[in-house]
Amino acid sequence: MISIQAEDVDIGALIAGAKRPGMGAIVVFDGIVRDDDIREMELEAYRDVAEKELGEIAAEAKAKFGLLSVDIVHRVGRLRVGENILVIVVGAAHRQEAYGGSRFIIERIKAGVPIWKKEIRRGGSTWVEGDHR
């Protein structure tokens, strides 16, 4: 499942759905809204392109790390502190590939997928430029 969506995601269900024959390890990355003096976060995506690029990153990670499953859900819209922003679930035969694939995917998303975050504070709001987590 590759999705850019406003709705939250059921991580437990994603994990259960990721299981495949031959799988021995699943690694989940969950990026959440951190309370750096912010009230809320607003996320915007160039949706068609971002979904296409997430799909390409997933395919590349599968090939490179021999992953048996990849799910990526990226939220958009207004999120409160503590809410899930991005959930990546990867499954592999062994933990080395699962960790490596997960890390590869998050770094690729941070580096290039057209999604933006705006931090909303009491005194105003600012677009985040580049990597902050």
Binding site: G31, L43, E44, A45, Y46, D48, V49, A50, K52, H74, I85, L86, I106, I109, K110, A111, G112, V113, P114, I115, W116, K117, K118, W127, V128, E129, G130, D131, H132, R133
Partner: protein, 92 residues
Amino acid sequence: MKARVRFFARFRELLGAEVIAEPAPGTSFLTLIRDVTRGNGEGHDAVFDEGGAFREHVILMRNGKRIEATDAGETMIADGDEIAVFPPVSGG
């Protein structure tokens, strides 16, 4: 000839989410975006530097694929193109 120009994040706030432009055949990427941002001082200055070149951090796409800002003067718009102009990404 029609082309859709989309702006995101900070650029969207300054310039609007999208403009449907009707460039003449032979219009370059650079010229089209200059035309579309003309008359919006703050928006134009967010995208272009004093010399009229794209600011270093500006990212350009044509139909979902990156194009280099340095090629934008020689890249011609085709009918139906979707052009995107945005600041550095910060997803994830």
